[in-house]
C-alpha cells in the first residue's frame, strides 16, 4: 500500500522532473519573449510568445464568460430552488456529466456549430468552445462552496426582510474565495487543453490582434514543435512544456491554497 | 468490593490534541456485574469506555497515558495484541451498525475471522446467539436477507448477538438504547439483566432510571474525572459528593 502511494506521488515528481531536466537546457528568454521568426520550425530564431499570449487570451476569455454564465445558474440552484428541487438535482447531475465529457467532443461540437454559422477558426471560436468545456468545472466548484454555507445564514437574512437578490449578494460575498478557486481551476484547464482548441481556434505565428483572427495556443505549439524532425525544435517543445507546467502548477497551487478551508481531497 | 476486578484502570489520562479529556482516572470494574457510567454529555464517559478496547488507536490526535488492566494484563503494553483484547469485549454502540452483509453473516463474521470454518458449528452458533437475544423466532426464516432490513430495535439485538458470538467476557454498551423506542429499550435492558450472570457489563448511559434498573454499580463522571463510584442505590439515593448530589437531584425528587 505504501509502495502504491509512493508510486502515485512519485508519478507527479517523475513527470515534473522529466520535463524539468529536458526542458531547462532549452529554456531561454527568447522563447518566452519572441514570436516565431521565419523557419522557426526548422530550428531558426524565435519563441512561442504568440502561443503564450493566445492561450492566455483564450483562458481569460473563457473563464470570464463561464463565470458570467455560471454564477446565475449556481445562485438559481441554491437560492431560488428548494433543496429538494428536481431541477436542482438534474442541473447538478448534468454538470457532473458534462464535466466528464472529453474536450475532443467539445471541440468537435464547437466545430460543427462554427460550420453551421459559417465561422472560421478564430480566437472567438476558441473562447466559446473552451467556455463550454470549463462551464461544468465552474458550476461544480462554486456549487460545492456555496452549499457549505449554512442555510441558517440565508434564513437569518430572510427573517430580516431581505429579498432573494439581497440574499444572493450575501452568498456571493461569503463565497468569494470559492469563486476565485473556480476561476483558477477553469483557467488552468483552459490554458492546458488542446483537443478543444485545435478545431476551433486555429493556429498562427502571430499574436492574435482581433477576436476573429486565428489564435495560437501553447499546448498546440508544444505539439507542433514536438512533431518536428529537428532536434533543436524538439528541445524547444520540452522547454515550452516546462513553461506550461510552471504556469499550470502556479495556478493549481493558488487554487488549492484558496480552497483549503472549503473542502478536503476534492479535485 | 466482593469480586476481584475484571478491568482495572490506573492513572489513566487521555488527550484529544490539546484537550485533556480524561484526568487521572482510576477505577476497578467488578467481575460479572453491571457497572454504569453516568454524567452530562461531553464528560468523557464514552471516551473512557472506548479506552477499554483501544478503539482510539485509529483516531487522529488521541494520546492515552496510564494503564488499563484486563484480567491483570495491561492492554496498552506495547506487547499486547489488540485483536486479542478486542475479542474479549463485545461493543454495542449508540446506533446499531450491522455489517454490510446478511443476518447470518453478521453473527458468523467474528467466529469466521477467528478461524471457525465448520458450517454445522456455525449454524449452531448463529442459532444459539440469536436465541440468546430473543431474535431467533423473528428472523429464522430470513437469515440470508441483508441485516439492514431489520428494524432498529432488532438490529441492536443483532449487534449484541454478533458481539456475543466471539465469546467475550465483557460487554461494553455506549448508550445502546439511545436510538431505540421504549419497547426495544426494555428488551435490551432485560437482556442485560440476564447476561450479567455470565458477563461483566459496562454501560454508558445518561438515563438515570436505566442505570438504576440494570446496574450494580454506578460511576459518576464529570469533566473528565470520576467524582464518585458506588453501588447503585447508594450513589443515587445517598450520594456523598456535592456534584453527584446536584446531578442526581432531579432523580431523587
Amino acid at each position: 500500500m505504501i509502495v502504491a502511494s509512493v508510486l502515485i506521488v512519485g508519478g507527479f515528481f517523475l513527470i515534473v522532473g522529466t520535463i524539468l531536466i529536458k526542458g531547462l537546457p532549452a529554456l531561454s528568454l527568447d522563447l518566452i519573449t519572441k514570436t516565431p521568426g521565419g523557419g522557426f520550425y526548422m530550428g531558426k530564431e524565435g519563441g512561442v510568445l504568440n502561443a503564450i499570449v493566445g492561450s492566455l487570451y483564450i483562458a481569460l476569455g473563457s473563464s470570464g464568460l463561464a463565470l458570467i454564465l455560471s454564477l446565475p445558474i449556481v445562485l438559481y440552484i441554491n437560492v431560488y430552488l428548494k433543496r429538494s428541487s428536481k431541477l436542482g438535482s438534474i442541473a447538478r447531475l448534468s454538470s457532473d456529466v458534462l464535466f466528464g465529457i472529453p474536450s475532443i467532443v467539445y471541440g468537435a461540437f464547437g466545430f460543427t456549430v462554427m460550420i453551421y454559422f459559417g465561422l472560421k477558426t478564430s480566437l472567438l471560436g476558441g473562447i466559446l468552445t473552451v467556455t463550454l468545456l470549463v462551464l461544468p468545472i465552474m458550476i461544480r466548484t462554486m456549487d460545492e462552496v456555496i452549499r457549505t454555507i449554512p442555510k441558517e445564514l440565508l434564513d437569518a437574512s430572510y427573517s430580516l426582510g431581505s429579498t432573494r437578490l439581497e440574499a444572493s449578494k450575501i452568498l456571493i460575498r461569503q463565497s468569494i474565495p470559492g469563486i476565485f478557486t473556480a476561476i483558477l481551476l477553469s483557467f488552468g484547464r483552459g490554458i492546458g487543453d488542446v483537443a478543444s482548441v485545435m478545431f476551433t481556434a486555429g493556429f498562427s505565428d502571430n499574436i492574435p490582434t482581433s477576436i476573429d483572427s486565428p489564435a495560437p495556443t501553447l499546448p498546440l505549439a508544444i505539439f507542433f514543435q514536438l512533431g518536428s524532425p529537428v532536434d533543436e525544435v524538439q528541445a524547444r517543445a520540452y522547454a515550452s512544456a516546462l513553461v506550461l507546467t510552471i504556469i499550470v502548477l502556479l495556478i493549481s497551487i493558488g487554487a488549492r491554497t484558496l480552497s483549503k478551508r472549503f473542502s478536503k481531497n476534492k479535485i | 468490593m466482593a469480586n476481584t476486578p475484571h478491568i482495572s484502570v490506573q492513572n489513566l489520562n487521555v488527550y484529544y490534541g490539546q484537550n485533556h479529556a480524561l484526568k487521572n482516572i482510576s477505577i476497578d470494574i467488578p467481575d460479572k456485574k453491571v457497572t454504569s457510567f453516568i454524567g452530562p454529555s461531553g464528560c468523557g464517559k464514552t471516551t473512557l469506555l472506548k479506552t477499554f478496547n483501544r478503539l482510539h488507536d485509529s483516531s487522529v490526535d488521541v494520546r492515552v497515558e496510564g494503564k488499563v488492566l484486563v484480567d491483570g494484563e495491561d492492554i496498552y503494553d506495547s506487547k499486547a495484541e489488540v485483536t486479542h483484547i478486542r475479542k474479549k469485549m463485545g461493543l454495542l454502540s449508540q446506533r446499531p451498525f450491522p455489517l454490510p452483509m446478511s443476518i447470518y453473516d453478521n453473527i458468523a463474521y467474528g467466529p469466521r475471522i477467528h478461524g471457525m470454518r465448520d458450517k454445522e458449528k456455525l449454524d449452531q452458533l448463529v442459532e444459539q446467539q440469536l436465541r440468546d437475544v430473543a431474535l431467533w423466532d423473528e428472523v429464522k426464516d430470513r437469515l440470508n436477507t441483508p441485516a439492514v432490513r431489520l428494524s432498529i430495535g432488532q438490529q441492536q439485538r443483532l449487534c449484541l448477538a454478533r458481539g456475543l458470538a466471539v465469546q467475550p467476557e465483557i460487554i461494553l454498551g455506549d448508550e445502546p438504547t439511545s436510538a431505540l423506542d421504549p419497547k426495544s429499550t426494555q428488551k435490551i435492558e432485560e437482556l442485560f439483566v440476564q447476561l450479567r450472570e455470565k458477563y461483566t457489563i459496562v454501560l454508558v448511559t445518561h438515563i438515570l432510571r436505566q442505570a438504576r434498573r440494570v446496574s450494580d454499580f454506578i460511576a459518576f463522571i464529570y469533566n473528565g474525572e470520576i467524582i464518585e463510584f458506588a453501588p447503585t442505590e447508594e450513589l443515587l439515593l445517598n450520594p456523598k459528593e456535592e456534584l453527584t448530589k446536584e446531578y442526581v437531584r432531579g432523580f431523587v425528587s
Binding site: M1, A4, S5, L7, I8, F12, I15, I19, S70, I73, L75, A91, L93, L98, F99, G100, I101, P102, I104, V105, G107, A108, F109, F111, T112, V113, Y116, L185, G192, D193, V194, A195, P219, L220, I222, L226, A241, L244, T245, L249, I251, A255, N265, I267 | N53, S58, V60, T83, R86, K87, G90, L91, S93, R95, F97, L99, P100, Y109, C159, G163
Partner: protein, 282 residues
C-alpha cells in the same frame, strides 16, 4: 436564471444532436453495424471501418485501468485507513496537482520517458524490434492521468463508511486489514465501480497525450507492444483534411458521436450511483 439553468442542462442534448446531424450523411449510406465492425479504413474510397479505432481505444483504456486500479485501490486504502493524517496531508495535494497537469505535458512525458522505457527495457524481452510507440505506452500515460480521478472518488466513497461500522468489526477482534476487506471494500463496492466507470470514460476520451505515444496505425492491435489508433486520436489527427474529402468530416464527427454517447452514459450512471451513496450518508 431559469433559462440559463435549463440551457446548461440541455447542453448535453445540443452536443449529441449537433454531432448526430453532422454524421447523418454517412449514416444514410452505411448502417451503424457495418461501420462499427468493418476494418477497412480508406477515406479516399469512401470506406470507413471504425473497428481498428474502437479496438485501439479499448486496448489503451483496458491497460490504463489494469495499471491504475490496483495502485489506486491500495493507495486509497492506505491514505484513508492507515496513513497518519500528516502523511495524508502530504499525499493528497500532490494527487491534486497531478490532476492539474495539462494533457499535452503528459504526452511530452510519455514521449520522453515511457516510450524509451518500453523501447529499451520492456520490449526487447518480447520482440526483436519495437519503437515503443504502442498501446502499452498509451495505457501507462493514461493510467497516470486517471490516478487523481480514481483516488479522489475512492477517498470520498471510503469517507462515507461510518467510523462506527469499522469499530464494530474491530471490536469483534478483526484486524485492520480484515476490516478493510470485509467491511470497507464491501460497503464501498458501488462507489468503487462508479469510480472505475468514470475512469474508463475519462480514458476513452483522452486525446492528445495518447495520440502522442501510441503510434497511430489504423490496425487492430494484437499485443500491448503493437501500435494502436484510438478514436479521439483519429479525430484530432485528421481534422485538417476532413473538409477536403467527401464524407470524411461526417465520419470523424460520427466517431465523436460514438465517444459522446458512451461517455455520456457511463458518466450519467456512475454519477447517479455516487450521488445515491452521498445521500445515504446524510
Amino acid at each position: 436564471m431559469l433559462v440559463l439553468t435549463i440551457l446548461s442542462v440541455l447542453l448535453a442534448v445540443f452536443i449529441g444532436l449537433g454531432l448526430y446531424l453532422r454524421s447523418l450523411p454517412l449514416l444514410e449510406l452505411k448502417s451503424v453495424g457495418s461501420l462499427l465492425t468493418s476494418s477497412v479504413w480508406k477515406p479516399f474510397k469512401g470506406e470507413f471501418g471504425f473497428f481498428p479505432f474502437i479496438m485501439g481505444t479499448l486496448w489503451v483504456t483496458g491497460i490504463a485501468i489494469v495499471v491504475a486500479l490496483p495502485l489506486c485501490l491500495l493507495s486509497g486504502i492506505f491514505i484513508s485507513e492507515y496513513a497518519h493524517h500528516r502523511v495524508r496531508k502530504i499525499i493528497v495535494p500532490f494527487v491534486d496537482l497531478l490532476s492539474g497537469i495539462p494533457p499535452v505535458v503528459f504526452g511530452v512525458w510519455g514521449v520522453l520517458f515511457v516510450v524509451p522505457l518500453i523501447q529499451e527495457y520492456i520490449a526487447p524481452h518480447f520482440v526483436e524490434y519495437a519503437t515503443g510507440y504502442s498501446v502499452l505506452a498509451g495505457g501507462i500515460v493514461l493510467a497516470v492521468m486517471i490516478f487523481p480521478l480514481i483516488i479522489s472518488i475512492l477517498l470520498e466513497v471510503f469517507g462515507t463508511v461510518p467510523r462506527e461500522l469499522k469499530d464494530a468489526s474491530l471490536s469483534l477482534g478483526a484486524t485492520q486489514w480484515q476490516t478493510v476487506k470485509f467491511v470497507l471494500l464491501k460497503r464501498s463496492m458501488p462507489g468503487i465501480i462508479a469510480a472505475i466507470v468514470l475512469a474508463i470514460s475519462r480514458a476513452f476520451g483522452e486525446t492528445i497525450a495518447v495520440l502522442m505515444v501510441c503510434g497511430n496505425l489504423p490496425e487492430v492491435p494484437h499485443s500491448v507492444l503493437d501500435s494502436g489508433y484510438p478514436l479521439p486520436a483519429l479525430i484530432a489527427n485528421n481534422y485538417g483534411e476532413m473538409l477536403s474529402i467527401p464524407l470524411y468530416d461526417s465520419a470523424l464527427l460520427f466517431s465523436a458521436l460514438i465517444l459522446f454517447i458512451i461517455i455520456f452514459l457511463f458518466n450519467a450512471i456512475s454519477r447517479i450511483v455516487l450521488s445515491r451513496i452521498e445521500r445515504r450518508m446524510n
